[in-house]
Symmetry: C2
Subunit: 439 residues, 2 copies
Amino acid sequence: VEIDMVINVPNGRASRVAIVGFGTVGRSVARILCSNEVPQLQLTRIFNRGVARKRVDWVPPSVAWTESIDEALAPDVDLVVELVGGLEPADGWVRRALESGKSVVTANKQLIAHRGASLVELADRCGCELRFEASVAGGVPVLRALQDGLAGDRLVSVTGIVNGTCAYILSRMEHANLRFADALAEAQAAGFAEADPSEDVDGSDAAAKLSILSAIGLRLPVRAADIAARSIRPIERVDFNYAFELGRTIRQIAHASVQPDGSVIAAVGPALVPLDSGFGRVTGSENLVTVRGIFGGETSFLGSGAGGSPTAVAVVSDLLSIHRAWRRRDEHAAGPLTSAARQVSGDIFAPHYVRFVARDRTGIIAAVGSVFARYGLNIDAVLQLPDYPKDRLPFVATLEPCSDSEVRRALADIATLDWVVEPPLSLPMLPFGARREAA
Amino acid sequence: VEIDMVINVPNGRASRVAIVGFGTVGRSVARILCSNEVPQLQLTRIFNRGVARKRVDWVPPSVAWTESIDEALAPDVDLVVELVGGLEPADGWVRRALESGKSVVTANKQLIAHRGASLVELADRCGCELRFEASVAGGVPVLRALQDGLAGDRLVSVTGIVNGTCAYILSRMEHANLRFADALAEAQAAGFAEADPSEDVDGSDAAAKLSILSAIGLRLPVRAADIAARSIRPIERVDFNYAFELGRTIRQIAHASVQPDGSVIAAVGPALVPLDSGFGRVTGSENLVTVRGIFGGETSFLGSGAGGSPTAVAVVSDLLSIHRAWRRRDEHAAGPLTSAARQVSGDIFAPHYVRFVARDRTGIIAAVGSVFARYGLNIDAVLQLPDYPKDRLPFVATLEPCSDSEVRRALADIATLDWVVEPPLSLPMLPFGARREAA
């Protein structure tokens, strides 16, 4: 009875919440907290730089608006929602909150990917919780599902579409037949891509999320910086035409897996996915994460990966979870984030799609075939669509399952041949396999 | 500090687990517990009637085999896994376990759907936990996701494919062009259907699961017996032909939703689903559950809905969760199961597919149209495939979104017309809508 009474302390009153960072997600969190849906949580403070221009009239007058972080972290605040993003000053503020005994909920993927281990350790030492469901896949409760719902399995791979900007650009290239540059410009105009889109299109956003998914799902700490990231910039319209011929389309895929020999593959980049698969059918800001366990097989999670409201649902769910389990430590969550980072490989083993642009002449297929043969790579099919100019003729070869590194070595040789107009493009094709199947 | 010490008591040693019921799932749970994956859990007892014939050699000698339920519920057991199924004697054994201070994990959907409220109350009174993730959608951790991961949202609808027998039969009708009776016989021969398949094909299995999903996801207690269930028995091969013409196929769908006026719709039965939707692509023993929340929009969960190993993952995940949060009460889980059952309607509002079988003559379409018009129903399209006999000519009308009850009233009138050879078949078409959109 005593135990229950101690644990239930916060059930007697609402937990007092401060929102630090009042952008799109912050406003959506406030919307939910100011509705009647979650009486367990009481919004008491909103922090933002230049907070005056942020004020909205639907927040009750009991909420204090402030541009002083000290006020946001005042003693009467129980829970802090960190939504400023980036490493600094977010990192310092989260530490201050934890050190003063406040649990923290964040949507900050870079902070968790890069500093998560030490922050979770700090939270543990302070008897607080640090939760970050919103940092991956927005409103899709995938971290919780991996950590708790599939705890009884040993997950060996995680594969996902987790970047909305790439999904938008590739979808527009696919459906509106746009070039990458035009699709990017459109995404920027529509607010789906930053002025500097590198973090999204070159893969570091997805790599940060994959690092978190690996830690929680595979219980493997993988540094985001160690994850091989390939840009979607080289994708051209013709690649979609060929992908369609193969019953496929192109998406940015984040993938991490434990190989039979215990090594780890982790990579982010464009990949061909079957048109009729879950990945092929992801549209707009949807995120899809599929995991495979040794006992339970494949399980998938699909939902809104971006947008204020879905992300806010993840934040509020985390707040409720802390409210309910007040100050209870979750050793399991801390485990994978606190152990030493693992070495990983980005050397995906999968069927591959290779697109060449050639100055047409006889003997090209033979030349390609002999290089591939030299590296032990087997061609599955060769495709050539009509109506392209003879001096810049694209054609495609698909390869039976092989290592990305083997393909690249072969392509480096092929790139030196005199009929090659531009460097060949290679893409892995879902589903990815295990590198050493004979092992 | 004291709090943590109290809560962490069981972390010092493994929790001792008894498996009650050693069938397919029980063996798979034992497999995981006897692997090195979950050292926190120690299998100590296995109960089954006539246990001698159940013995396997890969269980360590430290495990006691017994056919005495008293031994399975002995004082040194911490956690009981109930896998005998059905209401009795499972109900009595679960109560005994809870009353003696043991938390219980079960995969028993009928027990939870019919007695869940009082069992959760009993668990609360006894300071124990009762968990039942495995009772719905096998290895897909959907209950946990709804309860915790989406706790910050208010969910207003849940739609799922949750019965493997129906999925098998309908898939075989679709892909092998079998009649219902032949697909059922094949399913029975393959072990995917019981000798008496009523519980599966007529919908009470899915209704029990929908009752649990409604309680946990929509926080609406709905009695399984109050859920309108329609059998898949009337589905014929020709329905798949017409469904294909519409870009659709047929699945057993379980659906519950809160209408704008606060009323509740809950129904189980065959429905047309888009071929290229998640529901249309579910195969084999996959389960798919999609929920919609007022803040987060749609979220979907897909995975293995049956089979020993996936279901065992759900059981072991529940065991681990209890091990971690030893004896902490979860008021949230109890809430919807313990409040009074809500009145529900099975009157789905959706576009409808209606298939007639007619003795061909002129004026049939006009007659159908005038009856539908009398009930305010709008025809969207009329289809008639070639090559059927004139005296048993199937044709199909699709209707704009309307209530199931309106369609049935119109069909009762049409059934009296002289050219009608057999009673018309109506099916709702995904996505289902809100009944009173003008409200």
